[in-house]
Subunit: 214 residues, 2 copies
DNA sequence: TTGAAAATACTGACTGGTCAGTCACAAAGT
DNA sequence: ACTTTGTGACTGACCAGTCAGTATTTTCAA
């Protein structure tokens, strides 16, 4: 799987001359994630990214075409591998629908709440309107793929008599949204004393299942 | 109620010389909301705000001290009135806790999904790390105030035998998050075909109550 | 093995464009 | 006349992106 994006003026088909087995791109990307999350794309100075990565600004241009390309690369390098893992996990699952939901909540919820994936989600949300093609890619590949998958699982739960009949698409969104929101919260206004992410996710998951059971 | 913020270098106690009974500030603020939401604070040029408001850039400086002040004023002028209304509504409510939740979901959910309040939420989330005092103010006044209030209502529901015993703080967050997330979704990656905000909120509300009932 | 040449990796200093914020002046209202 | 409301033109700082040149690593002939 590869990040394909429509070619635009601001996104000229990225030849991406990243040389392999070189740690520089990863150093730079890791520095960029944190700064982009904390200050936003526009307000982040490439010089600060360079400092944080321990290189000079010009070095960034050896590995990335432009500041925008750095942003695109971030999604390419950090999101796609996570996706493959999550999908494999979901495909392998056999068992009652409610167990799948529990697994999903623990996996996805914790991932967004405590890893760099939450920072990336918040970043994409923040910059979505400025990078519509990237936002479309991320939306369809990450949350919508998750929603579709969930929708099917809930349908299966209904067919097998575990869950009550309901609008499965709405249910999928209602299940997913607290997981995403917890991740965004922890990477923007939070962390704080009021919202305890793990407890919130656990409660949500159990209460959601309880509400759905016949 | 007034927006008080700790005085910092970037926020020098805002004397706010906004002359009253003048439509200019509102024109400017309305133009700013939309541009800030779509491009973010940093990437929005004051000249574009001016164009959209139908004035010259220098005119903005008759009513606002700086670009940052414009952002602060946006919260002052657009959030505080909404808050007062919501609080009055909540205080006046008498009836079963589940009815309160329904009212809350319809009110707050629709507000964030379909009005400028969703855009403001998304904006604050996006810029939270860059404007920590504003983010603190917003977080404590808007979502956390809502969470506290909800927490109490759920407690009341438990005490009156309507709801099962549970972690009321986690429950409040789990109830609130889909409402907030729907608003953010609609103002960033959405609108799209997959997420229908009203159906999502309605399902969430009913399923949440169903899960909570004894 | 050594060391000169080639290839690769990196950088400091610069530039051209952009934009927040200013100011001297103009128009409109009273 | 005087105050309020407005503006076009300017400026100084900032920063993405470039480039000429330096360091380091690799290659390979003697």
């Amino acid at each position: 799987m590869d990040l394909k994006l429509v070619e635009t003026a601001s996104n000229p088909a990225i030849p991406s001359p990243i040389k392999r087995d070189n740690k520089r791109p990863h150093q730079i990307l890791n520095a960029a994630i944190e700064l982009f999350r904390d200050r936003g794309f526009e307000a982040t100075r490439l010089e600060d990214v360079a400092d944080k990565a321990g290189v000079s600004k010009a070095t960034i241009y050896l590995y990335f075409e432009s500041k925008e390309d750095l942003f695109y690369a971030l999604i390419r390098e950090k999101v796609v591998p996570m996706l493959e893992q999550t999908i494999a996990q979901a495909d392998a699952f056999q068992g009652p629908a409610s167990e799948f939901l529990r697994m999903k909540a623990k996996g996805v919820g914790r991932l967004f709440a405590h890893s760099e994936q939450g920072a990336i989600l918040k970043l994409v949300i923040s910059e979505a309107r400025r990078f519509p093609d990237l936002s479309d890619y991320y939306r369809t590949e990450v949350p919508e793929r998750g929603l579709e998958n969930l929708s099917k699982v809930i349908r299966r739960g209904i067919d097998e008599g575990e869950f009550r009949e309901c609008d499965t698409e709405a249910a999928a969104a209602a299940f997913m949204f607290p997981l995403l929101m917890t991740g965004i919260w922890m990477n923007s206004v939070g962390p704080d004393e009021i919202v305890r992410p793990d407890e919130t996710i656990d409660f949500h998951c159990e209460n959601f299942i309880r509400g759905l059971q016949v």
